[in-house]
């Protein structure tokens, strides 16, 4: 484990300034990703760690039909916020489906958005081929045993999965990321925030080095919408998704007036299924429609032998969550 300098940030501007001018510096929030990768796996080795944990970026405020969630708000805190249960229940379900209470008490919302992949080849320094760790070195996951890997947005360059549950619901809601840099603030839609791996799997999002996610803005569902999150996994709890789906529907007299659908466990980024939404809207809320949407969502999958099962599993996950949500009372 490499040595590093520990710095406690005094204010947001100072934290951004320190990290921006030092390519070897890294922000530290909840630590559940960063310390794991630094201290345990040795995959990353920042020379300076800037602890932002005590900055005033924690807490939730309501603004019109959105929640402004401070980046340091923990997953447990967001899950416990009453408006989330009332107006975006699938966000709460996704939060509580992730990790354990201990981890949710530590892990922050900003950190959840920025979490690194759980790909075991990425996390194992004994594996030389990893385009995400060492650009141009290849991808051991494509040729080796794979299971917890992506089939959408994936290619022979990288099949590393974005394992967040929360972000699946957040991309369905068109969440917005608020970013502070040395030269000011900007906002980016979460659906535009992540970069597909393409030929540069090491570049995961639009952040410049030193930019800090300060808030995540979560638009609430319209009145009359119903929503659900379904996670399919190898054990009943405390496990990453094999497949998952977040769905929100407005159904008027048996017809789908609005549909939001996003997928987890299958994408190199939290996956918004817009083609499926287009099929759902205006159609009767029945099994035939749901299956057609599922087929549309999982087109163009890139599979390896270990992940081929996810194509059908993901379709069934989508159909099931849509059925469940359609049967809810609005």
């Amino acid at each position: 484990m490499s040595e590093f300098e520990y710095v406690r940030a005094e204010d947001v501007a100072g934290a951004v300034a320190i990290v921006s001018r030092d390519p070897g510096a890294s922000f530290l929030a909840g630590g559940t990703t960063l310390l794991d990768l630094m201290l345990k796996d040795g995959v990353i080795a920042p020379g300076r760690v800037v602890d932002i944990g005590r900055l005033p970026l924690r807490g939730i405020t309501r603004r019109d039909d959105s929640l402004l969630v401070g980046t340091l708000t923990t997953m447990e805190e967001l899950a416990a916020y009453p408006t989330v249960a009332e107006r975006a229940p699938f966000v709460r379900e996704a939060l509580l489906a992730g990790a354990s209470t201990q981890l949710r008490n530590m892990a922050t919302i900003g950190g959840n958005v920025l979490q690194r992949t759980r790909c075991r080849y990425f996390r194992d320094l004994a594996v030389a081929e990893c385009n995400k760790r060492t650009p141009g070195s290849g991808c051991a996951a494509v040729t080796g045993p794979a299971r917890m890997h992506a089939i959408l947005g994936a290619s022979e360059h990288c099949i590393a999965l974005h394992a967040s549950d929360l972000c699946v619901a957040l991309v369905a809601l068109d969440a917005i990321v608020h970013i502070q840099g040395v030269s000011g603030e900007r906002t980016v839609a979460l659906t535009e925030f992540y970069m597909l791996p393409g030929e540069r799997p090491d570049i995961e999002n639009v952040l410049e080095h030193g930019e800090l996610v300060t808030q995540v803005e979560i638009p609430l569902l319209p009145a009359g919408a119903r929503s659900g999150y379904l996670k399919v996994r190898d054990r009943a709890s405390y496990e990453f998704a094999l497949t998952s789906a977040a769905a929100a529907l407005v159904i008027e007299e048996g017809t789908i007036a609005m549909a939001r659908l996003a997928l987890g466990g299958v994408g190199t980024i939290p996956w918004r299924a817009r083609e499926a939404e287009a099929i759902l809207e205006g159609k009767p809320a029945n099994d035939q429609t749901f299956r057609a949407a599922a087929d549309a969502a999982i087109r163009d999958a890139f599979t390896v032998p270990g992940t081929a099962f996810k194509v059908e599993l993901a379709k069934r996950t989508i159909a099931r969550v849509l059925q469940t949500v359609a049967e809810m009372r609005s």
């Binding site: 040595e3 520990y6 602890d51 944990g53 209470t101 201990q102 530590m106």
Partner: protein
Amino acid sequence: MLQVNGRVRQLQLDSRVTLLDALRDHLELVGTKKGCDQGACGACTVLLDGKRVLSCLALAAQCDGREVTTIEGLARDGRLHPLQEAFIRHDGFQCGYCTPGQIMSAVALLEEGRATSDEEIREFMSGNLCRCGAYPNIVAAIREVAMLRRT
């Protein structure tokens, strides 16, 4: 500075030291166990400002000035915590290695009000693995204390 089980402890540590290693190696509080040391097993669970967390994934420096409660801090006036007694009564362990983490997690679970059914206990204790498979007895111990608290 850490406030551990009600006592103020001053420490001068390398920046790399985790809260878990600070407790075990520098404060000789070895009740908190190192299992996976990677946030996957729950053996190192402690309370930080009253909330359950994994001490293996926190730097000691991050916890400066905060209150830590470990398994050694549960007994009062020489009497075990009701959950400790219940774990003994229900044989809620075999090898015992995960037990301090299980009990610390269960203490928080009761505070969170998440022990209203066996299903809920299982779900919200899922971050604590027991390789011996003592789960039925762990659930029984927690259920008993939860019921006593409600009556």
